[in-house]
Symmetry: C2
Subunit: 423 residues, 2 copies
Amino acid sequence: MGILPRFADRWLLSRVLESTGSAPVRFLVPGNADVSPSGVVPVATVVIRDRGALTGLLRDPEIGFGDAYMDGQIEVEGDLVGLLEAVYGAMERSSAGGQWLPRLASKWMDVWQYNSRRGSRNNIHRHYDVGNDFYKLWLDERMVYTCAYFPAPSSTLEQAQIAKMDHVCRKLRLQPGERVVEAGSGWGALALHMAREYGVSVKAYNISREQIVYARERARAEGMAGRVEYIEDDYRAISGKFDVFVSVGMLEHVSLDRYHEFSGILHRSIGDTGRGLLHFIGRNQPAVFSRWIRKRIFPGAFAPSLVQSLNVLEPKKYSVLDVENLRMHYAKTLEHWLQRFEKSKHQITAMYDSRFVRAWRLYLAGSLAAFRTGDLQLFQILFTGSKREPIYWTRDPIYAGQESLASPAPSTVENVKWTHAMS
Amino acid sequence: MGILPRFADRWLLSRVLESTGSAPVRFLVPGNADVSPSGVVPVATVVIRDRGALTGLLRDPEIGFGDAYMDGQIEVEGDLVGLLEAVYGAMERSSAGGQWLPRLASKWMDVWQYNSRRGSRNNIHRHYDVGNDFYKLWLDERMVYTCAYFPAPSSTLEQAQIAKMDHVCRKLRLQPGERVVEAGSGWGALALHMAREYGVSVKAYNISREQIVYARERARAEGMAGRVEYIEDDYRAISGKFDVFVSVGMLEHVSLDRYHEFSGILHRSIGDTGRGLLHFIGRNQPAVFSRWIRKRIFPGAFAPSLVQSLNVLEPKKYSVLDVENLRMHYAKTLEHWLQRFEKSKHQITAMYDSRFVRAWRLYLAGSLAAFRTGDLQLFQILFTGSKREPIYWTRDPIYAGQESLASPAPSTVENVKWTHAMS
């Protein structure tokens, strides 16, 4: 190549570096140009093999980077997660994201990926029906595809997913014979766990065909089909009265302007005397997922701030008892998933193609970076109806006897009941 | 009395009963008229000794009841707290409160009791400077005038106030040598406790003259004056950099449209790497205190919904780690206060007058009823700056070793640190 294209590439690379807020990343057009921020050791090198990818990075970095990485026109040498962490951090500091064109594109994406009943069905199908055999390669043996709860950072993923289910059940203080409705039930692990370990009956709603088929099969195999009913329908179709409403990793698939409707469905199900738990990916401040994630991985997804999420609860006067932030537990969960994913990459390439592998790697690595940097949070909100007394006197019963994770919370009278009497 | 006034009184009483949503309460004008809701056993009898009080109840029940009770024109026979609980419950069911005149009066009260710096000084003075000798009669020995934390419902008030202070310190995971700023410090117990038991240094802001004088004296007596500085100034005057921001029972004295300013002060004090805790009376849904409470007891007070309160945290991207609702603990605290108050009523009458005793009895009983019915909630929000890792891996350290309440949280490396490394 001559001097001119080399000069042009170097100029373009400098602009790219600038757009990352001078993150500690080296950008390279092989044999042609090479920029690094001064005074720092780069965490990784972004190798750009294509002029189109380079201009794409500048024109529309959100989509440009992801698509070029997916297509192999961009490669990352070194630590991909570290790179994404650095870019998140640096971009937040420079807080560039005020351009009108990406914002308009983002809004437009919201419209065509809107979670109407039909929209939800398409959106959910695109992600969760990719193939159970694929998810089996990198999830835990129970196929739990939400943030785990690691009793210690060194716990295994299988332990941590059981601990998470117990954590949810203990918080809710499930009692044998109670009726539970679950909105969004994945491959069915939590519903089965609640029924088997806590003696409740569960109606679980889900619109992923692949997941429902798998979950029903497992319930039958375990002889739990009489106590757990998997219903292939939207959460908006929930009918009947329940003691408990639980939703783990589903709120992210509800469009913000549907929270009020969600609130009504919740109230219809458990009224003013029930209780419930919402577990979802959230944020410290309102923001949207990158357009690349919504385009390629999670159409229609949205992670609310705590204030936004409470629009599900306040309109019906639900009383918030407990909010817990498990952000670092999601980072840990993603470390496990990404590790297992990488181990199976040849198998996944054979099942799909290398483009698919690169896209999903970027999604998992990007999510891990986002939880590490605090761009994403994980909230569990425990609440009761406005006419019900709190579930606990103190939280001690949740934390007492953690050893026996799979046994119901002790229902000491001391802890459940308290007197109103004044002498 | 003749037939006509008797008929008129009965009609007026029926209207009063109706305005309570037919709460299970008997209303009586002695020797003249008497109404009770049909089919229920009344929890108490409201004896109305004065025609003015009767029409006052109808014209403006919020102020009318409280003022007439305070003046002795209305007496309650039977269970005062039960009566107030029944009326809260019934009024919520009928949800009458949509009249424009009381709403206008309420807004107008907000204006003249507005918490500007000068307004706050007046408002705080009117409540907290009533006299330390008065508060000593019914608070615990450390003079903690906020919701306690009862390890068990049978704990004593003194135990529960120590446990509350430890609960706050454990959540914050205070470390020796850290700098803490406290916004609103009452009679100084928490600041002293943090410094004495957790080895931190504290700057505590308060605008109640009586409280500051008392707190400084105690710090001197305990030899802690070098580690705890009580500053007689508004929270808006907080200056300096701190590791931890703590505010227990102060947010209720900040006007809602000042939360944004509060947010700025918080951020100025602990930046993006500090942590903090807000403890305050809240609600399930936005609402205001009764005008009587604001007129006679707590000028300028406001209890926010959780969403409203988060307006202190979201603008600066603070990360909410933990929200705990201690509503029933405030009910229990108020039971103790009310009991002690009643025991000292003759002494208090001698110090002030019986009008004062009736007003404060109504305030304590009404607060107790409000926490029992869920009209009021008590939230503790633990948060960190957006650039800081969470304080814990799990909440276990808060609940481990509750026996040794007055010793700092164990700082096992396992629980504080976790690795980001992926193999």
